[in-house]
Amino acid sequence: MKRKKRLQGLIGWLAPFFGLILVLAIFSSIPEIQDRFLRIANFKSVATQSVIVALGALGMTLIIISGGIDLSAASNLALSSVIVAYAISAGFHPVMALFCGIVTGGLIGFVNGSLITSLRLVPFIVTLGMLGIARGIAKWIAGNQKIDAPLTWVNELMARNPRPSWLLMAPGVWLMIFLAIALAVVLRYTVFGRHVFAVGSNEAAARLCGIRTNRTKIIIYSISGLFCGLSGAMQFSRLTVGDPTVAIGLELDIIAAVVIGGGSLSGGEGSILGSMIGVFIMAFLRNGSTMMGWPNYIQEIIIGAIIVVAVSLDQIRHRRER
């Protein structure tokens, strides 16, 4: 009995990995791409490609657990990347430039949270508005074109072969791993983390128990904004220019990653580990499909199907629990 329970617990813990393992298994069993797909260099490049979506997904996980949504994530990301480029081209120190970009992201998140709580609007509407506003500001600042910035060490943050070579992976990848662990710890071991779940699970009960739900929400959206800002900085690092039209529609990839990872759009559920797995499922699918020479539209169809399948499997599992 006890052993069975432990086994169930183990399966429960491993369940999120199944999807990822399945994707890896399928591509590594196809002989035409097997050796290319399984190379360490390939894994490194997938990891680097995932950084931008992953950082966005970390913040989005907080928001979705709290029962909200952020449609402005990608616009926010683009704006932040433009700010970084603008600051560097204007002669700021790279550290200062990064700081400006990240803070811009945080500020957009703060505005989102404040509008949602003070105007009592649903997050969907506020962030839909912000999707346009942030993108517009980005284009305005960039003068509707790309901003060229001189090369600095910022552009090495996303280099596939980093210097010094003992780093093995790009600094951006390490940053992503570190922040994912940090956020998972915050969600699990801090009072704030509990309150995020409580607000998403039953907001009325949370308020009745003395949780300052509005303040909690503003903090959640601000943190998520900071992650978008950081993601924007990484986007700039990779492109080496500030492009206001970058990452259009990426918010949907970010949301998809969280949802594939077990996040519930009605709040109260989700995990950092799950979201990261969601990011990598999508990244490896793209990677493998490209190697197979499958056209883009095939990838889109597969990912679309995976979202529906993953969420319905999750629901079946929940129904059984009850």
Binding site: Y189, T190, F192, R194, F197, S201, C209, G210, E321
Partner: protein, 503 residues
């Protein structure tokens, strides 16, 4: 009660009045609570019990009157402040976060932490202590609350209130959704809380249960305090007498009608939300009343008949044709019409026009190749507005701008428009004005005289007695007794509904 020395008074509410618009929900009510007693708050639906405890908890503010808690002025601005002063409320709809664990729920908002990191071990110890205090150490701390039974959820809520150092615990209908077993456990907890000096305000319709747990009582009727006293010195009959009072005779227009053959018959029907099997026959031209307390299972029965909840056992026969599974669409085709008790959310599409609402369940007269004849439809709606004496500017008017009574008439008119032969009416007169009420009674009579069959759910006994041919009484999901209306009176209905025993 147990000891002879007078218990100190913990809470005094004086001259509390509260109005909602034109209705006076509370009128100069006095209420006293002693330390360590269980005080029952009694009264019919709408007597003002909930309003009174909401004022106490801080969820509502009184218009007049004052409160003293432990001899200090008490004027909570919110439920949160009330809690801080020691007044905790356990609501009918439970206030737990379903995804959080038992421990997380109990400690919600008062987590122990150092530098923001939760001290799980220490919190678990405290939660375990609290659960042990009410003799429920078997509840696991680490499972999400949504997986617990309703009874266990209630225990969690009580533990949370204890954690908040509650001195007054308000329980609003705590046993209405509990099984007998869970109810007994709750009574044991109440006894232990009492021994620890916690005062409990206990609201319940189940009078025998109240007699078991409460030390004293206060009866409210129509927003006024009728009497209060010791439970021991008062009999069940006296309590009922206080609650019912001498009602003013109301006018129930009588329309001659005769009952014919069986139209709807329920054979050992059991739905997934119902608590027990139900057997019932409804005849053509009959108005059959379903009496009972809120939550006695009448709404669930109607919803099961109309296929809104699924049938698990037994069958439904319409004019001797039996079936069990189905959808509301099929039921409408079979000649049924359902009027929901929740007019605002289920009964009407509030933001749409009268015409839309009236014709929603039957477009066929105006439908040609899938296109609606809008003009014809409006004319028909205009017709119904006149027939039903609905006060509206035009058929285009949106339904939310109508008064409650007129909204209800629109909802009823829809059933008539769809030519339903079996009308399932759930609290059709709740919250509407007297004139509309009496009009609705009259239509029900007329419909019966035209051979339609009506199942009429109401928690207001006089109207059941006034217009029904027969009345069935529900208690905890079961039909206790079915008799002709002339063989019932308000007292016997009340006894049957509250105790489950027919006199």
């Amino acid at each position: 009660m147990q000891q002879n020395q007078p218990c100190p008074i913990l809470l005094q509410m004086k001259n509390i009045s509260k109005s909602f618009g034109a209705t006076r929900a509370l009128d100069n009510v006095d209420f006293e609570l002693k330390k360590g007693e269980v005080h029952a708050l009694l009264g019919e639906n709408g007597a003002g019990k909930s309003t009174l405890v909401k004022i106490l908890s801080g969820a509502l503010k009184q218009d007049e009157g004052s409160m003293l808690l432990e001899n200090f002025r008490y004027f909570p601005s919110s439920p949160l402040e009330g809690k801080k002063k020691g007044v905790s409320m356990i609501y009918q709809e439970l206030n737990l976060a379903p995804h959080l664990t038992v421990e997380e729920n109990i400690m919600l908002g008062k987590e122990l932490h150092s530098w923001g990191f939760v001290q799980r071990k220490e919190m678990k110890r405290r939660v375990r202590d609290a659960l042990e205090l009410i003799h429920h150490p078997e509840i696991s701390l680490d499972i999400p609350v949504r997986k617990l039974s309703i009874g266990a959820k209630q225990v969690v809520e009580i533990a949370r209130a204890l954690m908040e150092k509650a001195t007054i615990l308000v329980m609003d209908e705590p046993t209405s959704s509990l099984s007998q077993e869970d109810s007994d456990l709750l009574f044991q907890i109440i006894k232990r809380l009492k021994a620890q000096g916690v005062s409990i305000i206990y609201i319940s319709h189940f009078l025998e249960e109240v007699q078991k747990v409460a030390d004293s009582f206060t009866v409210l009727r129509d927003g006024k305090e009728i009497c209060s006293g010791n439970m021991e010195d008062t009999s069940l009959e006296e309590l009922i007498q206080h609650m019912v009072g001498q009602k003013v005779k109301e006018m129930f227009p009588q329309v001659e009608h005769t009952t014919g053959e069986v139209l709807l018959s329920l054979d050992k029907l059991m739905g997934n939300k119902m608590q027990a099997e139900v057997e019932l026959n409804l005849h053509c031209g009959e108005i059959l009343g379903l009496a009972g307390l809120i939550g006695a299972g009448r709404t669930e029965l109607l919803r099961t008949i109309f296929a809104l909840d699924s049938v698990e056992q037994g069958s439904i026969k319409v004019a001797y044709v039996g079936f069990s599974k189905g959808t509301p669409w099929q039921r409408i085709k079979q000649g049924m019409g359902f009027l929901s008790e929740d007019r605002q959310r289920e009964g009407l599409a509030l933001s749409r026009s009268l015409t839309d609402n009236l014709t929603l369940s039957n477009f066929s007269p105006y439908c040609r190749f899938g296109f609606l004849g809008l003009k014809k439809r409006n004319e028909a709606a205009q017709d119904w507005i006149q027939k039903m004496k609905i006060k509206a500017r035009s058929p285009e008017q949106r339904v939310f701008s109508l008064s409650g009574g007129n909204q209800q008439k629109v909802a009823l008119a829809r059933l008539l428009h769809q030519r339903a032969d079996i009308l399932l009416l759930d609290e059709p007169t709740r919250g509407i004005d007297v004139v509309s009420k009496s009009q609705i009674y009259e239509w029900m009579g007329q419909l019966a005289s035209r051979g339609k069959a009506i199942l009429f759910v109401s928690s207001y006994f006089p109207e059941l007695l006034g217009i029904c041919d027969r009345i069935a009484v529900f208690h905890r999901g079961q039909i206790i007794d079915i008799r002709h209306s002339s063989e019932w009176n308000v007292e016997s209905l009340m006894v049957a509904a509250t105790t489950g025993k027919a006199l």
